[in-house]
Amino acid sequence: MPALEIIVNGAPRTVAPGATVADLLADLGIARGRVAVERNGAVLPRAEHGRCALVAGDRLEVVAFAGGG
């Protein structure tokens, strides 16, 4: 089965078939505690990160708080 093409934070990325959002974050070395994820325009609650399998063409936003006013 071929790898999946998705978009993460605006850039293309390839993930293994069956990979979940949690897998992706682990891959990226991102501690889950401090990020939020939007999938195809809707927030993906943290509780679902481990259940949600990625699909080809998914558009993810992975965000965190930064300094701002």
Partner: protein, 268 residues
């Protein structure tokens, strides 16, 4: 005096100074400035994580008791602002959001009409919305009508430090709304903050005024005192302005040969 508190969205605060977390030289400076400011509400922005490296989080700079106020800074459409707010809620576990929908790049002026629409959506979505807006009485009315928990008119362009350019319109807004009025943007120095509070505003939000001072931590302390001073002056009820001088004490009792000819001490 100890009970001069204010509330927004069901939260109650003693400090009337809200501070941002942008533009500091370091996380350590951010932390020290926030602590010196005494702020109980601290704004943060939301942005994409850098996928390649880890760096300290702005959250490390924020004292544990503080309430986070995520903003939608940089958003220029209703949709981006709404999505950003929802992500922030997911991150921050809180329904508070400082709503910004920017309509002009050079002045960072808000798009008031889009802000009203985004506010309506977010209020419907359960958010406690604190919208950044111009000091426009009609926009402020609309924001209240759609259920905003406060209004945050700008005093001058973001990051300009020009102070309260139009105090009169701030006063008109204060007379008109029931929710808290928080002056947001434009405060450049301590007296600006005091002026905002003396007008009767409930609170002041600032970032550059502190972070871009030569000594941000000392300025944070100055701002804390200035907000408190302005608030107390508002509550104390300032003396009336008079065109002429007024001596203070009975105008008798000065030394001199005959009938006392000099007034007692006129006061400064």
């Amino acid at each position: 005096m100890s009970n001069d508190v204010w509330s927004v969205g069901g939260h109650t605060f003693g400090s009337r100074l809200l501070v941002g977390t942008g533009k500091y030289a370091s996380i350590d400076q951010t932390r020290a400035a926030i602590a010196a400011s005494g702020a109980e509400i601290v704004t943060v922005a939301l942005r994409r994580v850098k996928l390649d490296r880890t760096k300290p989080s702005v959250l490390d700079a924020i004292p544990s008791g503080c309430t986070l106020l995520p903003n939608t800074a940089g958003c220029t459409t209703v949709d981006d602002a709404v999505r950003t707010a929802r992500l922030s809620r997911e991150l921050g576990m809180s329904e508070l959001v400082k709503l910004e929908v920017i309509g002009d790049e050079r002045t960072l002026y808000p798009d008031n009409a889009a802000t009203v629409r985004a506010a309506e959506i977010l209020v419907g979505d359960g958010f406690t919305v604190l919208p950044y807006c111009t000091a426009d009485v009609v926009t402020v009315k609309r924001l209240c009508e759609v259920g905003c928990a406060a209004v945050m008119p700008l005093a001058a362009p973001i990051g300009s430090g020009l102070g309260i350019l139009n105090p009169h319109i701030i006063k008109l807004i204060l007379e008109m709304v029931d929710v808290p009025v928080i002056v947001d943007a434009g405060v450049g120095t301590a007296s600006d903050a005091a002026v905002a509070m003396e007008l009767g505003c409930d609170a002041v939000l600032m970032n550059t005024g502190i972070a871009a001072a030569k000594e941000p931590v000392l300025m944070a302390e100055a701002m804390r005192e200035a907000v408190s001073a302005g608030r107390k002056a508002f509550r104390a009820g300032r003396m009336p302005r008079r065109a002429y001088a007024t001596a203070s004490s009975p105008e008798t009792g000065l030394i001199g040969d005959g009938p006392a000819k000099l007034p007692n001490s006129p006061v400064s």
